[in-house]
Subunit: 201 residues, 4 copies
């Protein structure tokens, strides 16, 4: 009996998939279970997605672009003040809050999903660029250690951010959002901690 379900079957599947992937990890979830959890028949799943990895991919792409937008918005909103630290802090705060507010999606996107790599790689690369650019700008102004490789530093920073947030999400009681922001800020290659690098003899 074809229950005349809403057209939002696809959305339901994505929601169910998000929960299941976050809970059990990519390989432990099966298409059947996603369909069931979405309150749909098995076949309906394949009407909307080629296989479970297609769901995973879609979830990851959505998360990635959501995070990028959150970051960009925070950055844009914080520009204008004279203090160069403010946009950096705002961007970091946006990332921390995004992770907190979309914990499942964040874990599914950056967590230990082999299938994720293919996408996370390129998109992370995309995030590397603006950070590297900013670093270079500050290097030219003598505000950042000129020996620092901007690309490598940006990549390293992102690895840190993602890794630290994933660790945090495993148990949010481990730290306060504020503390994470401050820590990430201080370790940020363009962070003010570094500004002082100059006085070195």
């Amino acid at each position: 009996m074809p229950r005349p379900r809403l057209e939002d079957a696809r959305a339901r599947l994505l929601t169910a998939g998000l929960e299941l992937f976050a809970q059990h990890g990519g390989e432990r979830v099966n298409s059947n279970a996603i369909a069931r959890a979405a309150g749909l028949g098995v076949g309906t799943f394949y009407l909307h997605f080629a296989n479970k990895y297609a769901v995973l991919r879609e979830l990851q792409l959505r998360t990635l672009s959501g995070l990028r937008e959150a970051r960009a918005a925070a950055h844009a909103a914080s520009l204008g003040g004279g203090d160069p630290e403010i946009p950096v802090r705002a961007t970091i705060r946006a990332a921390v809050e995004f992770a907190r507010d979309h914990a499942e999606a964040y874990r599914v996107c950056f967590g230990r999903e082999r299938a994720a790599v293919a996408h996370a790689g390129p998109v992370l690369t995309e995030s590397v660029r603006p950070i590297a650019r900013a670093l270079r700008a500050r290097q030219s102004r003598g505000e950042v250690d000129p020996e620092l490789d901007p690309e490598l530093a940006a990549r390293a920073y992102l690895a840190m951010e993602v890794g630290l947030l994933l660790w945090w999400l495993e148990d949010p009681k481990r730290a306060e959002a504020d503390g994470l922001v401050e820590t990430l800020l201080r370790l940020h290659p363009a962070g003010t901690g570094r500004r002082a690098a100059a006085p070195r003899p």
Copy 2:
């Protein structure tokens, strides 16, 4: 006929498992394949390991303790000089070289292996301690920003190190070992870049 195999069946299985896990990832490898690759019968596998995850666990534990030892040895060997940067750099260099020299093991240990988390978590925690302790010491000497949360900073640094090295191992042509060491050193919470943080009012 029980082929008079060497008693090193266990070692052979670990070696075969390492290669397969590194190549295909934890969920894509099956116990039969490990046995086969080790040149042993299927049944023999179960004589030595409860299941493939036991192999994975063992590989990870070995890698973890290998890395810990490499770090500790480098640290110990570099003490004595007056420059506090030297032990930090030596430790970082040890980690980079360990990753380079045990690329497969490093990936299997820290890569996207869900089963790995359970172990990597605790052991990373163990690595956090010495770094946090050193940070606190330097804070008390006014060499490091006193506002930095030592535990969080240590955790963040390790996330960065692991993440950056995994990215590197995906394609070693992406960077030079030296560049990685310098980058990690400069971003290290106890790095000299930070020492200068003090002058802040």
Copy 3:
């Protein structure tokens, strides 16, 4: 919205079915694909046919009667002359040309469609009768070996004709239509090839 489709839905389905059955074989085709190829909705298919086998059956019956008619027409048109070979040749030529001009239908009808057997069997039987009758007539006139079993010979001839034409249609470059006609004529149980064989000492 019920798109104001032409009432020729049935015809469209048959055409689409013919193409698909010829291309992929009876078991590889599904009703949804037929509907799709016909530019109709899935549900519409079931408004016109009980299932895909009903389409197959209809196609086969049409082909069978088309072939029978082509044969009969050619036979009728060629009667009257004194040479008894002429109607036989005309009938054979009609069959060869029918196969050539309706290659897909011919394959769908006689090819390896299990579901076809049930129908092809009886209808072939129907084609056996006139041939057997003609043979008997010529036997009574001493023109054909009296030992030949007319029913068996007729059945054998038809198996040959169908088999040879199917082989030909697999790749029409394999032979010329004329060559096929001549070959079939010479091997025809009532063929003159047989009669002429006599004068030999």
Copy 4:
């Protein structure tokens, strides 16, 4: 519980497959059913064959080579006499008896198995050659109509033989083996039926 089955699992699967394929046709049979019918577990099937088509293929190849051998043996055994009809009749009789004695295999091999074509084609082609060669020889001796295309005639004869025998096997009461042999002999392009047909009063 791994019943320590005989090593002849493969043979059992082939036997079960033969029966099922003969009964239901290639597409109606599933690997599961074959395994079950063979008294084996599902997985055991895949231990021996890649899929059900591999079973089909093997059955067909065996049948094909069995038939070829039967034909060749009969031909060889009948040579030596002066009458050129004797080897032809012996070969035909061998084919008829092979079909009768291996009815299921014969149907599976030549019947409506789409998957069969690929193999039956080439092998039939192989059977065409000796017949065509014999025809050419007899043409050069003036014993056979020189206008007959040997390749086409050989191909046609085989189509007839296979088609007639398949029809017979559908219901063996339809004809006697002897009658089939005589009919096929008389319609054989090199058959003496042709030569002698005339002198009859």
